[in-house]
Subunit: 566 residues, 2 copies
């Protein structure tokens, strides 16, 4: 890759520091997100080595930090748990397959279908779902996986049977992490620490909690004496390179979730990478991002990992810590390789409730009120799409929610253009300009209805436009000409063409002439070759003004026809 060929010495210190700090965040997160995905902890570590290298070689962002993330982990769990028992061999194999499939899917263009509000609602809904799902681990309650309502009511009923030591550790960790997130940086700054350093230090809080809680459990033996759930044995050693025996039989039901993971991952990565690149005046290429994240997932599959993508929080930290190139990712990968080779034993006493606390704090940071507020002010329909996607994810399920969101975006799109703005226009006196008769003092001609349609003409609005014209004719007796001004028509589909053809016939039967004006070049080119285009050859005007003058000329001639020659 270019960055490697042109690598400059001064970049190294930034990359080294960023790589180190990201690794310190990545260790607890990779263990926690693997747990969230229903996978053994080492799978999270595997997914944090080769994918980082693959992205460093193929991606285009200088600062995107790739690896396991919360939302993709939830999506993995949601797709796989109906197919196999979490933690089982089959489940593991399916997770690898999911990474492979989402890496192979090159349908980034489908990301067009994911509107900003839908993505926002999806991420926020996922965050709630994840947070609620972690409470049982946080408090040491045993509850089967289930729908959110069952989970919440189960939590209420069983809160008294919580494991007190587990809950104490978990809640303490949670409080500390919340404190670190909201108060630590201001506190450190007020003690005179530089802002950037203070911000970065707060990101190390999860690691601090991991170390302290592990030490406490190891020292007190709470795992034995009080049944505090711990991570336990994590196999050490680098992952084997290669794919497991894959049964393609089972792949059919995985394509949709794999596609959704790849789309959501792609959209999120591009958005993070782009906003970071902008801050330094750099550029990213969406196509190379698609390649980079795809390569990372394939690398994850070949090293026993599960779906990965660009993470929001770690990328921001990577950026703030001064990462200059994807070299920072290479450093992280190397450090993770060292950790997994020699230090997995250190995670033995790590309490699961601390991982749950880490996850909860991380995902609550994904809740996006900002987009909701903005959409609510700017565009209620978008806000409703957001809220329904959010509710859909929580109450119907992860995939169902996002598909609902896509369906809603499309429905809003169709609904809007199915009720186009239409205006009857007249001439601004002594000019060639035409304006809405309801808003301006303009001239009209008897017998002429000049209607401007402010939307493309297609199946969803063809009927309404026809009705509008009919109503206008009914309420304007003596109409001899209907002029449609098509300046806003970017597309005209077969349904609209059929409607116009019928309209022309119907009007002609009543001795009313249909005319068009201001048709755009590409639309006109296609219209000309149709039977309607043939029939209307002499009724298509370049400008509204030309049509207006022609009509004025015609009515001034009519009295002449009655006049007898002398």
């Amino acid at each position: 890759p270019q960055w490697l060929l042109q690598y400059q010495r001064p970049w190294l210190s930034g990359d080294l520091i960023a790589g180190l700090i990201v690794t310190v965040m990545l260790i607890p997160q990779s263990l926690a997100y693997a747990m969230l995905a229903g996978l053994p902890p080492q799978v999270g570590l595997y997914a944090s080595i080769l994918p980082l290298l693959a992205y460093a070689f193929f991606g285009s962002s200088m600062t995107l930090a790739v690896g396991p993330v919360a939302v993709a982990s939830l999506m993995t769990a949601s797709a796989l748990s109906p197919m196999a028992a979490p933690g089982s061999e089959t489940y593991l194999m399916l997770a690898v397959m999911m990474a492979l499939m989402s890496g192979l899917i090159r349908l980034g263009f489908l990301a067009f279908f994911l509107s900003h509000p839908v993505i926002s609602g999806f991420i926020s809904g996922s965050a709630i779902l994840i947070a609620v799902g972690q409470i049982k681990y946080l408090l040491g309650i045993s509850l089967p996986r289930g729908e959110i309502i069952a989970t919440v009511s189960g939590l209420f009923h069983q809160i008294s049977s919580a494991n007190r030591s587990t809950a104490l550790i978990g809640v303490a960790a949670l409080i500390f992490l919340f404190f670190a997130r909201s108060r630590l940086a201001p506190l450190l700054k007020s003690m005179g620490m530089p802002a950037t350093l203070a911000e970065l230090l707060t990101k190390l809080a999860p690691m601090a909690v991991v170390i302290v809680s592990t030490a406490i459990v190891a020292g007190t033996g709470l795992d034995q004496s009080a049944q505090v759930a711990i991570v336990g044995h994590v196999p050490s050693g680098l992952p084997h390179i290669g794919l497991p025996q894959i049964s393609w039989q089972q792949s059919q039901t995985l394509w949709l979730p794999a596609l959704l993971i790849s789309l959501v991952g792609f959209v999120e990565s591009v958005s993070v990478a782009q906003s970071l690149a902008l801050k330094r005046g750099q550029r990213i290429s969406p196509n190379r991002e698609l390649l980079g994240i795809g390569a990372a997932n394939i690398a994850s599959a070949f090293s026993g990992g599960y779906p990965v993508t660009g993470g929001f929080a770690r990328s921001v930290v990577n950026f703030s810590a001064g990462a200059n190139t994807p070299g920072a990712g290479v450093i992280s990968a190397a450090l993770m390789a060292i950790v997994i080779s020699a230090f997995t034993g250190w995670f033995y006493y790590l309490p699961v409730s601390v991982l749950a606390a880490t996850i909860i704090v991380a995902v609550l940071g994904l809740l996006d009120w900002h987009t909701l507020r903005e959409a609510w002010t700017y565009d209620k329909a978008d806000a409703v799409s957001l809220l329904l996607t959010f509710a859909g994810v929580i109450f119907l399920g992860v995939e169902e929610g996002i598909l609902l969101g896509v369906a809603l975006s499309l429905a809003v799109l169709v609904w809007r253009s199915s009720h186009p703005h239409m205006a009857i226009v007249g001439r601004v006196p002594n000019t060639a300009h035409f304006r809405n008769v309801d808003r301006h003092q303009v001239e009209t001609l008897p017998g002429l209805i000049a209607l401007r349609v402010d939307e493309s003409l297609y199946f969803a609005n063809a009927q309404i436009i026809e009705e509008k014209v009919e109503n206008l004719i009914q309420s304007n007796t003596g109409t001899s000409t209907v002029l449609l001004i098509l300046s806003a028509v970017n597309q005209l589909d077969s349904t609209a063409l059929a409607m116009l053809t019928d309209m022309q016939k119907g009007l002609a039967a009543r001795k009313i002439t249909l005319q068009f004006a201001e048709i755009k070049g590409p639309v006109l080119d296609r219209l000309r070759s149709t039977p309607l285009g043939e029939i209307m050859r002499d009724q298509i005007f370049l400008s509204t003004h030309d049509a207006f003058l022609a009509h004025a000329h015609q009515i001034s001639e009519k009295p002449d026809a009655d006049r007898r020659p002398l």
Copy 2:
């Protein structure tokens, strides 16, 4: 209704004749379509009495003939056969419920989603499915209901076991009906008969076949001697008014098919009613059609019938036979009531293979090559939607096919506007007009990129527009201003707003000014209240020309800034 209050004596003869001729068509069709729907023959007769009266009172078309039709019968069979055995009590109850539900559903606005090509592909696909499904009755082969491929291969394998007498009668009827449809009218005309009368006489061919074949079977006893399947006992007497015991438990799975029946029925009825109304310079009201067809279905449910709608062939005959008002429908209903009260015994010996022949000839008339050919010339994407809907109905199923079609229409819509036409424009010398630089000799200014986007801005094209602007900046070094000309933008959603906000930030970071020109009133009104609108307050120009002059002024001032004051 108005037509009844203003009824005029001279209308009566036309209504009487039309009512009579339509009844003669309706008798074999109502028996045949009930069979197609998997229902006993009397249900078809029931659906041909009250629904006609209800439509006459509530509908708006003067000539639409309502009753059982082929496509709705197929849709009924397809929805109900997975739920109950055709012909069973439950099946009957579900059919009534389906009529009730499709009558109650008032979602005519959803018809927006059904584009012309999708409806055309759906009707043609249904016609093929119906025709293939009837071959076993035509030839007297016993085959279970099944997928089309299984049916076709079953037909091939079992053709030798066909009932020869049945097949003989069926094929003879089929040949006669085809002959009547294509050759009889020209023949009669060449013998000097008036065209309209000749056309109408050909429509009586099915009734002639019914009478002749019933007489043959009754006379020869082929039903006993050669096991020719006959209609058998049809209970006589008017239908009881009231609803059967309905289990709402089962209604959940019926809402989607009931909705689809009501939408397809509505779209088809309106289209037939409108084209007939146009020929006489009359008008129909889509809202009153929705009401009329809904009322007809509720009436059908209350009299033991099944879903009905406006039929194409019978409406055309009604029109040609001179129907002046829905009074013709009232006549038909009265005649059908007489038939069912006293003459159902006459159908005892009617061979089922003749009904199958009637259905096959009727539905082949629904095959719509015309729309396919037109769409293929005018708009390949629409033609592909049509063909895939057609194939979807045949190979995936009736509901699946139409839903696929809707999904395709939406996908085409999004796909098109996701690749908007964009043009860099310059000024036509000495005018205020701006044109594409690639097509015209125009003036441009150094440092100014003036880009016109010919599409609304929304989630599906936001990313592509951003990329286009970035590429333009990369290839035009020294750009100081990016001017977006938004004259074609009818909508601007939150996703596009977020994109423009990011774009403005990104450009500002590189000291490039973003400007807008020619924003439409409604779009501008909403934009003004956003943070982006605030920031860009002074960068929004009414016309491209204003923006052009401002830029020209700015560059002419720059050298001045370097000049020292004297």
